[in-house]
Symmetry: C2
Subunit: 344 residues, 2 copies
């Protein structure tokens, strides 16, 4: 505190500077006979900040970390003009993150559907009787080529199945429904502390006005005594002075209670925002892990897909027109005896 409070003596009119915003007091500059007082603090929406030009630079609580606990003290205005506490911005980020998970899972679901369709089409074509009448080594190679489509279909079904269990499901179920409840708890807890701060601030303002009134009363009564304007006795002045002092004590107590409430809110803000920060790191890492799983499954799938060609390549290698001719001729020959000249 830069302005001291003298319990017994004269006591400067504490100025409570604030910007033009609901629930704050208007700025005022007061100059006393003793010194020029510069306003060094400002209360905005019942939270008291240093005026940035006057104080030595505050050190960040967690320098170089861009930590949530360092950047969300003030309230902001949303496009509709409503006041949004910094902590609310952090909570919204968490809820949005949960929604992003869900949308990513939806995307994976769509991929799964595409894979299943592809597999179904390949499988169906694999059963086709087209060119089934081709025989011999060529017929075998062709049959295996057709069969390989079934193998490919299985690869893609396996892929889609693993996509579901290893990517989609985790993305959907990470944090579950409890998460929103947890966020609400944080929300309410911090809001309650802010509300307390608001009411303590109101008490301070009330005590401040009461003090001003008491001081005015004392001053009037003192002046009246001097010019013997009324029949006020010294007794009245003492009473006025006592009330003034009491009002001063009240103000001190209210300010003290206000500062306690603000400290409490401050502590909870630091703790909670760090927790949200941790949760966000966890979320990003979880998503990264599962998207890597997606690419791993894709790599695997392409490899398994390649291997469906091995038996086809082998059989194509073995295609032998001579062997096929032998097989066919053995089955379809009509006669080996060659014609001879007719005798007479």
């Amino acid at each position: 505190m830069e302005e001291s409070f003298d319990a017994e003596g004269s006591f400067d009119d504490a100025s409570c500077l604030s910007s033009q915003s609901p629930g704050s007091t208007s700025p005022a500059r007061r100059q006393t006979k003793e010194q020029e007082i510069k306003e060094t603090k400002i209360t905005i929406n019942c939270v008291t900040f240093p005026v940035s030009t006057s104080t030595p630079e505050q050190q960040l609580l967690k320098p170089n970390e861009w930590s949530y606990c360092d950047y969300f003290w003030a309230d902001k205005r949303d496009p509709q003009g409503a006041t949004v506490p910094g902590f609310e911005v952090l909570l919204q980020k968490q809820l949005k993150g949960k929604h992003m998970q869900k949308e990513m899972a939806e995307f994976i679901r769509e991929r799964i559907k595409i894979e299943e369709e592809y597999a179904k089409n390949l499988s169906k074509l694999s059963q086709s009787p087209l060119a089934a009448q081709e025989e011999g080594t060529l017929g075998d190679a062709w049959a295996q080529l057709k069969k390989s489509l079934t193998d490919e279909a299985e690869v893609h079904l396996k892929f889609s199945s693993k996509l579901q269990s290893e990517v989609e499901k985790p993305l959907l179920t990470f944090r579950g429904d409890n998460f929103k409840k947890d966020m609400k708890k944080y929300d309410h807890h911090i809001s309650d502390l802010r509300k307390q701060l608001v009411s303590r601030y109101a008490a301070v303002e009330k005590a401040r006005r009461a003090l001003v009134d008491r001081q005015k009363d004392l001053e009037v009564k003192t002046q009246q005594l001097e010019i013997k304007l009324s029949n006020k006795t010294e007794e009245d002045i003492k009473k006025a002075r006592r009330k003034s002092t009491q009002a001063g004590d009240d103000l001190m107590r209210c300010v003290d209670l206000y500062n306690q409430a603000q400290s409490k809110w401050f502590e909870e803000m630091v703790t909670s925002s760090l927790e949200l920060e941790r949760l966000e790191v966890e979320r990003v890492e979880m998503i990264q892990q599962h998207l890597r799983q997606y690419t791993t499954l894709r790599h695997e799938t392409d490899m398994f897909n390649q291997s469906t060609l091995e038996p086809v390549d082998q059989l194509l290698q073995s295609v032998d027109p001579g062997k096929d001719r032998e097989l066919w001729v053995r089955e379809h020959k009509t006669g080996e005896l060659r014609p001879v000249d007719m005798d007479i």
Copy 2:
């Protein structure tokens, strides 16, 4: 020829053995005073074969090759009972082979359609706005993951395009429409030679019957002379004998013409069946080559598909929750000044 023909003297009744089939004569066994004649040849459908048990084994024209020219001399019966020349069987095989090509091309066409559908689905999903609001390094990785589906789609479209130009089209166009015309030419050519053989054979049979008649006439007239049954003179017998001899000459000439026609047919059979054999080898090798092209394209596709993941893997590697926090906090922070105690 195992039975000799004596131009002037007695002349054995040439027997023309054949099986019970249209256009052939019935089997007969004749025994003369001089020797037992074993039937060593048989004419079936106007083609003359050795009787298999009597001749020394014929050597195959192309031993160990199962060549068409060795195995399709006889006609066969189809299930409806019609006679099908061996060469016809070979032609049918060629036409069937052309049909197999066509069916294989159809199969490839179906694969192309499946690939195009798959590519279309991937491409559409790639454009999805799901989780587009994710920002920072995680957002970049997610965006690349989505984009990779477009890359995959392109890989599959390229695959289907090459399937069309390098597999389907060659299979469809190999040999084209001229092939059927060429086969018809072979068909007609060989058929014409067979028809000629049939008519030459009919001439032989006619000449044979004429000879028998002449011989009978001579015999009767000779007998009549001996028993002085009629007033036939030596002159009549001489005439009869001359006619008999002429009939013998006619028969010889017919048999000779027949044998020439059979030789001509024989030569064409060998040449043409070897050509069909060559065409079949060419067909099998062409199909083998193009099916190998199919598997090559499949291998390529799986590899290109893998490479679509590289940028995704890289960006996932670079996901940095701290960096993302910095980016987000810079944009969304509400205020860095921390609250301080209110002064009185």
